[in-house]
């Protein structure tokens, strides 16, 4: 189910290194250019209303990656017949062509079947299942690293959206799972264009050249690697699409010096770490929610929905989570740490893992009856009244439902 990749682009390569942000800056400016030629732009509408054959319908580089070679820059460029050739011969839609008459494209480069013709291929990763895949007992690999190494790795992936979204624990687990991969010699192909992609790499030491062959895969012969499009060094990374699913590599990456070092992370480990932490968090929240009398009448799927809607918030010790007298707007579950309730300055209760407070705020915005102050570092899961109402309707209705169901027994 692999996605074909386009020759002439540098799809999954982040060549920025830790000391060199110029590439990123260039990307940003290209993004702004995207704004200008975006669908909301005048040129977009004009292009759409007129005859745009032979014209780069959606703007040459507008939809392509900044700094990369735009293979047509066409809207349907990736793996489609519209995407071959330069921006000039570029595409546009086959407005009067019968679909059967579409020009054959670089269909299915590196794929077992010739398949593309403007239609988009589905993608799929390995089946991941927390209950049956033996997750219990599975622990992510742990490869120790020095503080310096960790700091460098953090910087290297900080701009990558797959990593920036992780919470601290997930991020740490992922960094720990990176495995060192020594590249002992020059001219070693780390990845080959067209091959199956399993690993994402971060450069620790050394430098690597990146080649792209227009056919979509490495060819035999002296020029089989295609053109050198870029190179990357310490702090750079490549192969990130492999963290999503098994797509053919979009480029070849070759070592240019002896004794280089990479950090590698495979897809299954990465996605499993994400799955496990999400799965455990959901089940934990569901278990906590079961203990809340106000929510007793929720059906299990409603509880799951609520668990899914909780926001995790961290507080340092001695922080005030809610203040006595303030209007209540949210309900909290204490996920870790300890907190204390104060009324008129006097401690009235302590809370620990699994406890909850502020649940009456789900009913209305009456003033908080107490202040809650953290005793330690604390992680809470928060649910606003608005969020609850949006998901399940007013909490009163749910309570009323409980009364109604209980009525025959009482």
């Amino acid at each position: 189910m692999a996605e074909s990749s386009l020759p002439g682009s540098t799809p999954f390569i982040n060549t920025s290194s830790k000391n060199d942000k110029s590439h990123n800056i260039q990307k940003i400016s290209e993004d702004e250019e995207f704004e200008v030629t975006s669908p909301t732009d005048m040129t977009f509408r004009q292009a759409n209303s007129g005859d745009n054959r032979g014209n780069a319908l959606f703007g040459g580089s507008a939809f392509s990656e900044g700094g990369s070679q735009t293979a047509g820059g066409s809207l349907f460029g990736r793996g489609s017949p519209f995407g071959v050739g330069g921006a000039e011969s570029g595409p546009g839609h086959p407005d009067d062509d019968e679909p059967g008459a579409l020009p054959p494209g670089p269909a299915g480069q590196g794929l077992p079947n010739n398949y593309a013709l403007g239609r988009r291929t589905s993608v799929s990763a390995e089946s991941l299942n927390p209950t049956s895949a033996g997750t219990e007992g599975w622990t992510p690999p742990h490869h120790p690293k020095t503080e310096d190494q960790l700091a460098r790795l953090k910087t290297a992936v900080s701009s990558n959206f797959l990593f920036s979204h992780l919470d601290d624990d997930q991020f740490k687990t992922v960094l720990d799972a990176l495995v060192e991969k020594p590249i002992p010699a020059k001219d070693i192909k780390v990845i080959s264009q067209g091959d199956a992609g399993d690993y994402f790499y971060i450069v620790e030491k050394g430098s690597f050249d990146i080649y792209i062959h227009s056919s979509g895969s490495v060819q035999p012969g002296p020029d089989g690697l295609g053109n050198k499009v870029s190179s990357t060094g310490p702090g750079g990374s490549f192969g990130e699409l492999a963290l999503m699913y098994n797509a053919p590599r979009a480029a070849t990456v070759i070592s240019t010096e002896a004794k280089s070092t990479l950090w590698a992370l495979d897809r299954i480990t990465f996605r499993r770490i994400l799955m496990d932490s999400a799965f455990q968090r959901r089940r934990m929240y569901e278990a906590f929610l079961e203990e809340v009398p106000l929510l007793l009448s929720l059906k299990p799927y409603e509880r799951s929905k609520i668990a899914d809607a909780l926001d995790t918030i961290k507080y340092p010790a001695e922080a005030t989570i809610i203040t006595e007298g303030d209007p209540g707007d949210a309900f909290y579950l204490l996920e870790s740490g300890e907190a204390e309730a104060f009324k008129n300055g006097a401690s009235v209760k302590t809370y620990s893992r699994g406890d909850y407070f502020g649940e009456l705020a789900l009913l209305d915005d009456k003033p908080r009856a107490a202040s809650i102050v953290t005793k330690t570092d604390v992680k809470v899961a928060r649910l606003g009244r608005d969020g609850f109402k949006r998901l399940l309707g007013p909490v009163e209705d749910i309570m009323r439902r409980a009364d109604y169901q209980k009525a025959p027994n009482s």
């Binding site: 909301t40 077992p112 993608v123 799929s124 797509a247 799965f279």
Partner: protein, 394 residues
């Protein structure tokens, strides 16, 4: 239900109940003939029943037999209707069927490819999902499934209008009315899959929506459909431009992904391209998780609004998934003027009427190159030992 009208799709003389291959009183030849008759007896389009009645008809279901006797050699393969990474769909006819306009869509999956691409679970889900659904007006019907040494087969009804994708690309974009009507039919289909079967479809896109001769939609390719009910699932699947943020983040996804995809689909109908696009798939995913939508200024406000509400990156805020469910989707101002029942019961024609000269006309489908048989994966004895039990449902 006592009130329902019973008008069987299958003539009574072939209503013999499920075939039991262990029944030694009947020779396998008879089973074979009977199963062919069952297949021949299938007529479409099926009647449109109220979806909540449809589920009560399981006892009547004659379609979707898991056949031990049908064989690929029973069929003449006429033309490829579509290809996937490990599947090919053929226009097919029973060889001893005198009526040459009586045709089917036969989906062929090579076992070795299914295994190599790690799609065993998905293929099983596909058969299971389709088998659970009894003639819904907007969903392809699984008539029978069978298998042989190398391949799995799913015999489906043929939908002659071709892909809505083809019409969309040809017209560049749909007008408001066309978009609204097809979005409405998709909405009813998602509603049915979710509310009646707990099935997440997970691959909504114009390529998977066919048109029938009357211009109504037919959802095909249930390769990623899965009964998830209200639990979450984790395997990444879909089509890059249509993946929901929670699928990319692997934080667990469920039925809500179909509502996200509906938003993308409405956008693509009206604008002619999906809202998040880049040559480089990783940049598509980056845009998706950011979820920043940009609309052409001439896009109707109600359409912009429904796309915004469906494409909420947080599923807990997403229209369709929040309180009110699909009812709230259907009552959105974008759908003002939709006669839901008229569409469902096909009392009106669809906005695009395909040119279909006869029931077996496949002219609305693109031409596909022949399959490359040189590097085919072989279903070895080792694979067979390990995987054959998983294919036993076919």
């Amino acid at each position: 239900m006592a009130t329902r009208t019973v008008e069987h799709t299958v003539p009574s003389e072939v209503q013999l109940g499920p075939v039991d291959p262990k029944d030694n009183n009947m020779r396998s030849h008879d089973f074979h003939e009977r199963e062919k008759k069952l297949v021949q007896a299938f007529r479409h389009p099926p009647r449109a029943l109220n979806p909540f009645l449809i589920t009560e008809r399981h006892d009547e279901k004659q379609l979707c037999i898991s056949s031990r006797n049908l064989h690929i050699t029973d069929f003449a393969l006429l033309k490829t209707l579509g290809t996937g990474t490990f599947a090919r769909v053929w226009l097919a006819r029973l060889k001893d069927q005198p009526d040459r306009t009586k045709v089917y869509a036969l989906k062929i999956l090579r076992k070795a490819d299914v295994i190599k691409l790690k799609q065993v679970e998905h293929v099983r889900n596909e058969r299971k999902s389709l088998a659970a659904i009894v003639d819904h007006p907007f969903i392809t019907t699984l008539i029978a499934s069978f298998s042989d040494e190398q391949s799995l087969y799913m015999l489906l009804d043929f939908c002659p209008g071709g892909e809505i994708f083809t019409y969309l690309r040809r017209q560049r974009r749909f007008d408001e009315e066309t978009s609204r009507i097809y979005a409405a039919e998709i909405t009813m289909t998602i509603e049915f899959l979710h509310d009646v079967h707990g099935i997440a479809y997970r691959d909504l896109k114009p390529e998977n929506i066919l048109l029938d001769a009357d211009g109504h939609i037919k959802l095909v390719d249930f390769g990623f459909a899965k009964q998830v009910d209200n639990r979450e699932t984790y395997t990444l699947c879909g089509t890059p431009e249509y993946l929901a943020p929670e699928v990319i983040h692997n934080s667990g996804h469920g039925l809500a992904v179909d509502w996200w995809a509906l938003g993308i689909l409405i956008y693509e109908f009206l604008v002619g391209q999906p809202p998040f696009w880049d040559q480089n798939p990783m940049r598509i995913y980056e845009q998706i998780v950011e979820g920043h939508l940009r609309f052409p200024p001439n896009m109707p406000p109600a359409a912009q609004n429904i796309v915004t509400l469906l494409c909420k990156t947080n599923p807990s805020e997403r229209l369709g998934h929040i309180s009110g469910g699909s009812t709230r989707v259907k009552s959105h101002p974008f759908f003002t003027g939709i006669a839901w029942d008229d569409l469902f019961y096909r009392r009106v024609k669809g906005p695009i009427i395909p040119r279909v000269s006869h029931p077996a006309d496949a002219g609305n489908f693109e031409d596909y190159p022949d399959s490359d048989t040189r590097n085919q994966n072989i279903y070895t004895d080792d694979l067979k030992k390990k995987y054959e039990p998983l294919f036993k449902d076919f």
